[in-house]
Symmetry: C2
Subunit: 234 residues, 2 copies
């Protein structure tokens, strides 16, 4: 019997790839998604499709009201930046950063893992594209893992220690796309756009769309993303 793992699944490109990696590595995937008041809530429909596609052991969607705090273009009345050049995307912390989001999501993942008797939590963070996101950096993931190893019953009762697995953390988007296609990921199911419409169609102009589109181009794969209208990357 495979070991259970919790995989944080947003419904975007990175987390869909992470599900495929966890399955490749022999885990029974317990996918965890969040309805957190995100502007691009159609990503949750994508998460359901990805979970079904991989026939995961379980898929939970948790309500978490991050609009209670706001402070982000994804959870507050702040416009999503559009048409930014790649060097602007890669420097500083964009307004789409959601305060403490990964810390909150990993903490729910930790609770889920503990109840499952699992010590493996996968998260599809990536440190290259958004070098400014504090909670995507390797040193953050390491510190989270160290905290998690002290946080749960297994810390006291001496069983296995928690692993926070971030297999994409130092990959380029093109490398992620190539790996995912090799593993059979159907990226047409996924939604990365921060401003997707209710049909899950992408704007093609937000940071996330721009990085995703370049990833397919650089990987030499056709882009299966459904856009509102045809988009040209500058």
């Amino acid at each position: 019997m495979n070991k259970p793992a919790v995989v944080l699944l947003s419904g975007g490109l990175d987390s869909a790839t992470t599900v495929a990696i966890a399955i490749r590595d022999g885990f029974d995937v317990h996918a965890l998604s969040f309805s957190y008041g995100q502007r691009h809530s159609t990503e949750l429909e994508a998460a359901k499709l990805v979970a079904e596609r991989w026939d995961v052991a379980e898929h939970k969607i948790i309500d978490v009201d991050l609009r209670a705090f706001g402070g982000s273009a994804l959870t507050d009345d702040i416009p999503v930046p559009k048409d930014r050049p790649k060097d602007a995307i890669s420097s500083g912390i964009p307004t789409t950063y959601v305060p403490a989001r990964n810390t909150i999501f990993l903490s729910f993942g930790l609770a889920y893992a503990e109840v499952l008797g699992s010590v493996d939590i996968f998260i599809g963070v990536n440190a290259l594209d958004y070098s400014g996101y504090p909670d995507c950096r390797p040193e953050y993931i390491t510190a989270y893992e160290e905290m998690a190893r002290l946080a749960t019953k297994s810390a006291v009762e001496g069983s296995d220690v928690v692993s926070v697995r971030a297999p994409l953390i130092d990959m380029t988007k093109a490398e992620i796309v190539s790996l995912g296609i090799g593993l059979g990921v159907d990226y047409s199911l996924t939604v990365s756009c921060y401003d997707a419409n209710s049909k899950g169609e992408a704007c093609g102009r937000c940071d996330s769309c721009i990085l995703r589109k370049r990833g397919f181009e650089e990987a030499g794969h056709s882009d299966p993303t459904r856009y509102f209208k045809p988009v040209t990357v500058a």
Copy 2:
């Protein structure tokens, strides 16, 4: 102007004392409570009364569905232990432990603090009474703080570092009661019982009631707790 701080406020004895300490220490208190599917939801009414009593700057109550995971007598169909002797309470991890609860609550506290521009998060954990609770131990709090210092904008942008303040961590319940009474805490407003009824009356027999009652006795203060019926501690 005082500095803002986030204070996790359950509505119990420890967190009410922690609010008073944060105010004594000159902080503007932004209290944070959670409706997490807890059996003893009347503690939230107590939290509101405590927040009003201290006229805090803000009091947010966040919905967090920990029943989605279960695994605890507080969030699942598991009976609350009653009439346990003190040495049993103080050893092992009781079924009232909620997986990763403090990690989740602190993570919301971190989000709230980041949006407020605060770096101070108070939590009323105590390592003495429940020495088995993994997420009440000093080494856990230290590790959480180290993770939090890498998690947010201030980690990247170089402003103040996050402090996770646990002023009660090495105090006995009697010491906490004495301190709180000195600071003007009205413990009649608070609910500690894991199995409180809808009026906020306590069972007097769960671990939390037993520890609380002994705390008042050892501190030499009369116990203002409202019980279902008169209780004698063995």
